[in-house]
């Protein structure tokens, strides 16, 4: 009966209740969706770090990271692999040769980290091969008599391997992508001109377009004009096992694109045998072994286990290699907490205010209920249930709206193209796919109900303090 009366009381003043419920819905939606969007950025970054850059666990010779000396190889590679393969949670391992070097073309040179990889194994273990930009070759797919290298787009730009030309094909592409014909007409004067750098091409385009056209279309224009000089070669120079300067020309096998400019500009990949031959490293020697785990949640446990089993080696999880990323992930959890606390506090004040108004409006009625024999516990429960119903209805609606919007945006993502340059410089994607786990939904729902309960206490106590005699008199 108390439940029924409380529910009916909620709908007594429909407008007021709907305002509170709408406010709760909007608050919960704003909180949950913002967190889902922020979360997606972190999840995608971690995903990229684990799947493209670092893997879950890396094992190095103890001195390798501090000195980067080519001599600091892992002593007993087969035994290490045997230990790792026997470790529960480890699903795949591979060895890498890692050396510092310089990449140069005729016009530019820059420092890089050259990683010698087992192409077939890495293809299975990582998604980097899938990051190949279409039309730029393959992930070491074609047979060639030259050494081959897989490089990032940023490095390709830095080394002037990429150029920009608005060919007839590029104009057709712009047309199919819906660029207005007025804009295409303006770009006509740039037809077939070759621009060796991003900056020069951008300046040329921006001189022809208005600022709004530039904001709307410059990225698409750049994409259409982007072309790779097929068969380009770069020179990689490094030290060999005898500390002698060596190097060779490498044909670019393909160019990859990630959301991490730093990684793209620094990391180049070469088949391990080609690097072994050039450096003089013995067969079966590696600087680093990387391991993929069944599940990212196992990272800490497996890292601890391997560290105990392999005391002579440096065992590092991705969290230790990129502590900033791990710290950010942890910090984001706290930020989510603070964010939700602010929203729930606003929700609580809204409910307290509404319920106080409801109690004050119903002074006489509550007094009458006490007079005819409704005990304090029941009066308290009735007011509490009204608050809980308000928060539950608003909370569920908020969660529902959040769920629907997250599901809708998770499919195509939210493209923050305006901020892509800045975000990608730090390794974050500007194309967000909001995501949130079920646990978060459950916790938030529980917190909303708890907020409803807590915010009902003050108005319910106020109701209990009413003296039936005064209340009935309407004082």
């Amino acid at each position: 009966m108390i439940i029924e009366i409380a529910w009916k009381n909620v709908w007594r003043n429909k407008t007021r209740s709907m305002i509170v419920i709408t406010a709760v819905t909007i608050g919960v939606f704003a909180g949950v969706f913002s967190i889902a969007a922020m979360n997606s950025s972190i999840v995608q970054r971690i995903d990229a770090a684990v799947n493209e850059e670092l893997s879950h666990i890396q094992i190095n010779n103890k001195d390798f990271r501090s000195s980067s000396d080519i001599q600091n190889v892992i002593a007993d590679f087969p035994s290490l692999i045997a230990v790792m393969e026997a470790t529960p949670g480890v699903i795949n391992t591979t060895g890498r040769i890692v050396i510092k070097g310089i990449a140069s073309t005729a016009s530019k040179s820059t420092g890089v980290e050259i990683t010698g990889i087992d192409v077939e194994k890495e293809k299975k273990m990582f998604t980097l091969s899938k990051k190949l930009i279409p039309g730029t070759g393959s992930f070491f797919g074609s047979e060639t008599k030259f050494n081959t290298v897989f490089i990032g787009e940023k490095l390709a730009k830095d080394l002037n391997i990429i150029r920009y030309t608005l060919t007839q094909e590029a104009f057709s592409k712009l047309e199919t992508e819906g660029i207005p014909s007025a804009v295409i007409l303006k770009l006509g004067s740039l037809g077939d001109q070759k621009y060796p750098t991003d900056k020069k091409f951008s300046n040329a385009v921006e001189n022809l377009l208005t600022s709004s056209e530039k904001n709307k279309f410059s990225l698409k224009i750049k994409e259409a004009a982007w072309s790779y000089r097929e068969g380009s070669k770069i020179i990689l120079s490094f030290l060999d096992m005898n500390n002698n300067q060596t190097g060779a020309a490498f044909r670019v096998s393909g160019i990859y694109r990630t959301n991490n400019d730093m990684f793209e500009s620094l990391s180049v990949f070469v088949p391990v045998n080609e690097l072994r031959e050039l450096t003089g490293m013995k067969e079966g020697t590696y600087h680093r072994v990387i391991a993929r785990l069944d599940n990212n949640d196992l990272t800490d446990v497996v890292t601890r286990g391997l560290r105990e089993s392999l005391p002579g080696l440096e065992v590092l999880s991705w969290k230790e290699i990129q502590p900033d990323l791990a710290m950010l992930a942890d910090m984001m959890q706290q930020i989510y907490g603070i964010f939700m606390a602010i929203i729930l506090a606003a929700l609580a004040f809204g409910i307290v205010n509404t319920m106080l108004m409801a109690v004050l409006e119903r002074t006489r009625e509550i007094g009458m209920l006490a007079a005819i024999g409704m005990n304090r516990r029941k009066i308290f429960s009735m007011i509490m249930l009204e608050s809980i119903f308000l928060s539950i209805v608003g909370g569920i609606m908020g969660m529902l709206v959040s769920g629907i919007v997250i599901a809708a945006t998770a499919k195509n993502g939210i493209n923050l193209v305006k901020y892509s340059e800045g975000m990608e410089a730090f390794g974050y994607t500007a194309h967000l796919f909001p995501t949130i786990d079920v646990q978060f939904f459950i916790t938030t729902t529980i917190l909303i109900v708890l907020t409803g309960i807590l915010s009902s206490i003050y108005p319910a106590r106020k109701a209990l303090k009413l003296n039936p005699v005064d209340a009935i008199r309407g004082e």
Binding site: M1, K8, E365, A370, I372, G373, N375, R376, I472
Partner: protein
């Protein structure tokens, strides 16, 4: 047999620094089946006396016994149970629960007393019939006239067979026709079910029908007149 016994009861309030004696040494008793009114000018202590009898307020002196319960000995939670089990209240402004139907309002105290659903339904139908509102079973208070609401309030007060009904100015907000009709119902219940009614009123129509008229002035009983 006395249902209510009031022995030398006092009730004082402190209005700033002045002590106001709302009830000043009242001794009265009400028997089963009484149809009594307490009259007097405003501020004479009528409502205070009814509140003391109903256990809504505590006297500052003297004692009140209702159905064998010494009210001053009951704790606040026991007083709530006492009111639920022994007293029926009818208020001047009806005080029905607006979100419940007429039938649900009547069944409210039965519900508090955890009566079985079937028994509740039978009693509710019986009371709706007694107050002549069978056809308004599902009406909300806002859909009823003042007179109809007060009849539902009487039915609610009677629902669990209390020892007596306290009716504080029950006709004050009603037109003459509704007031007469309500008093007819109350008189009938008093006559047929031996239900004890104690009214406080200014209304001459109520006074005319009462078999006992107690007049209060400055918190004292100045006249206690029983009619045949």
């Amino acid at each position: 047999m006395a249902v209510v016994e009031i022995n030398n009861v006092y009730k004082s309030y402190h209005d700033t620094e002045v002590e106001v004696k709302a009830i000043n040494g009242v001794t009265l008793s009400f028997d089963k089946g009484d149809f009594s009114v307490v009259v007097g000018p405003s501020g004479s202590g009528k409502t205070t006396l009814l509140n003391l009898i109903g256990g809504l307020d505590q006297p500052t002196g003297g004692e009140i016994l209702v159905a064998g319960h010494r009210l001053s000995e009951l704790r606040p939670s026991e007083l709530i149970d006492f009111r639920m089990e022994h007293v029926g209240f009818v208020f001047q402004s009806y005080n029905l629960i607006p979100v419940l139907t007429a039938a649900e309002n009547i069944g409210f105290i039965m519900n508090l007393q955890k009566w079985p659903k079937e028994k509740r339904k039978v009693r509710t139908d019986e009371l709706l019939s007694s107050v002549g509102l069978t056809d308004r079973h599902n009406s909300r208070p806002s859909q009823l006239s003042g007179g109809q609401q007060q009849r539902i309030a009487v039915a609610r007060a009677l629902a669990t067979h209390p020892e007596f009904i306290l009716a504080d100015e029950p006709t004050a907000n009603l037109d003459s026709k509704s007031a007469e009709s309500l008093l007819d119902i109350m008189e009938k219940l008093n006559r047929e079910e031996q239900m004890t009614f104690i009214f406080s009123t200014h209304d001459v129509r109520v006074m005319k029908r009462a078999r006992r008229v107690i007049t209060l002035e400055d918190g004292k009983v100045i006249l206690d007149e029983t009619r045949s």
